[in-house]
Amino acid sequence: MKRYGRRTLALELAMIAAALFVGFPVYVLVNLAVRPTSDTSSPISPTTSPTLDNFTQAWQQGALGGALANSLLVTVCSVVVVLAVSSLAAYPLARITARWSRGTYLTILLGLALPFQLASLPLYQTMRDLGLLGTPWALVLFYAGLQVPFTVFLYVGFLRALPGDFEDAALIDGCTPLQSFRYVVLPMLKPITVTALVLNTVAVWNDFFTPLLYLSGSAQQTLPVAIAGFVGQYVTDWNLIFAALVISILPVLLVYFLLQRSIINGFAGGLKG
């Protein structure tokens, strides 16, 4: 190990400067969110008499509680569905080498390259015909299908690197294939399930385009759409808007700082695959 020399110190300072640069917008965000509207001093000077009024007002007028609950419902349901169907599908797709299995897998991978605008515009019409537009279930269905290619890709890659001996033993001992999946394969998949859980949750929670289309005009918004509506309504009242932004960022950051190790590893490991 090298000594902590002058060069390391310079690097340390440079990196801290970079971090301050990255953190600057967050400082301004919080600084303006706690500032009364009457205070019109420069956005970078610290607020002298901070207040929490903006938060209560934004919470009530933006109907953020309902949006938060909707986002939670959509995210939990679609992530649970996509993890369940993808891990189950990965089992035969990774283990069977027949032509249909490879063909199916390649078709699914094709889905990774398709931009979602192509599918989501025609699907809009189908959802309308089914009467699902404006409900969170349209979104659950959409994300569960949209995230299949990526999630199956993660699971199949992981499963192929594992030996099949445990499953074979379980099947020879009289397990049904479903039991072998439930008690042998699924526990072995745990590390990649954590990665897939993190990546899918972030993708679904943060998505804006699809709920903008599918929920427009409905009372049941997800958080990103509710925020966009709020910004449109209070165009000039940035202190109020910033309070709403803080409220919407808070849960994400809280979860991130609690689980940062597995989230960062998930991003690095899952995509390195």
Binding site: P25, L32, I44, P92, L245
Partner: protein
């Protein structure tokens, strides 16, 4: 077909770990094909069938509502050639994608090298620098819309440190707005590239570095000859992700500039949205989505070919 004997795929480039079992495996050990059915049905309903229908609509004059529409052949694509907005959007999309890819990966690599070094705050910095990547993009875009305003925090900061001459109308100036979008996107995702590069850096064995160091290689030489080739897989993934993400970019443009001023920052994605939902030109808009798909496909295929050649050369 579902009863095919259970064989595992063998990576051809690597020798098998154990000698293959000469006994044929019993047929019943293969998991049944219908395990894949729920995922396939969802995938077909949400992605496959609508995409195929989308390609069909691209050749019609459908407005999104009227059940009466007619097949117009290549008219939508021909119309694009006469549509200055569409041509500009394609150009902006490519420009944004390339700029984001270059800047985000350069910054991400520098950050990764920094937090992979012996500095004391490295663990804290990793957590902190990655944080923007998990925040909802539409939210960060609204935040930056205020920061980059004429009286926003960025201009105030320049004023406060005596660089008042650098004050700009970052989003209102058509010449600048596109680069502001790139800057905000890089701010959000540089930490993302950093984490992937970091994972690559940590797979570089320390011994090789020490050996090279003892042979008299300086830090630059060590980076170029030892680290760089071993980073090739991480670079491949990072380039793929950032260029495809850049081509599809929607949220940042929508929230920062709405495509404006004028059409100065419209990309294919924002134009698809506007044409479909504010102008009711569904057929035309889906034709734009087909063009977007073709661009993504060509870029990914080209990049995949170039980078896998590069990875082979590096290893």
């Amino acid at each position: 077909m579902a009863l095919a004997p259970h064989k595992r795929l063998v990576d051809k480039d690597r020798p098998p770990v154990a000698a293959p079992d000469p006994r044929p495996r019993p047929a019943r050990t293969a998991p049944p094909w219908w395990f894949a059915l729920p995922a396939m049905l969802l995938f077909a309903f949400v992605v496959l069938v609508p995409s195929v229908r989308g390609v069909y609509y691209a050749f019609t004059d459908w407005d999104g509502l009227d059940p009466d529409f007619s097949f117009v052949g290549l008219d939508n694509f021909a119309a694009m050639l006469d549509d200055p907005d569409a041509k500009q959007a394609v150009w902006h999309t490519l420009l944004i994608a390339v700029a984001i890819t270059v800047v985000q990966n350069a910054v991400g690599l520098l950050l990764a090298l920094g937090v992979n070094s012996a500095i004391k705050s490295r663990n804290l910095l990793r957590v902190f620098l990655f944080a923007p990547a998990v925040i909802t993009p539409i939210v960060t875009a609204y935040l930056w819309r205020n920061l980059l305003g004429p009286d926003g925090a960025v201009n105030s900061l320049f004023g406060a440190v005596g660089l008042g001459g650098w004050r700009q109308d970052w989003l209102g100036d058509p010449e600048l707005a596109l680069w502001s979008v790139v800057g905000v996107t890089v701010w959000q995702y540089a930490g993302y590239s950093m984490v992937i590069f970091l994972a690559g850096l940590q797979s570089v064995p320390k011994e090789i570095h020490e050996a090279a160091s003892m042979d008299g290689a300086g830090p630059v030489r060590r980076f170029w000859s030892v680290t760089r080739p071993l980073l090739a897989p991480a670079l491949t993934i990072n380039l793929m992700l950032s260029i495809i993400g850049g081509i599809k970019l929607f949220d940042q443009v929508y929230a920062l500039t709405g495509g404006g001023p004028g059409h100065a920052t419209d990309t294919i994605s924002t134009l698809i949205y506007k044409d479909a939902f504010t102008l009711g030109e569904f057929g035309y808009s889906i034709a734009l989505a087909v063009v977007l798909t073709i661009i993504v496909a060509v870029v990914s295929a080209g990049q995949y070919a170039a980078l896998s050649r590069n990875e082979r050369a590096a290893s």
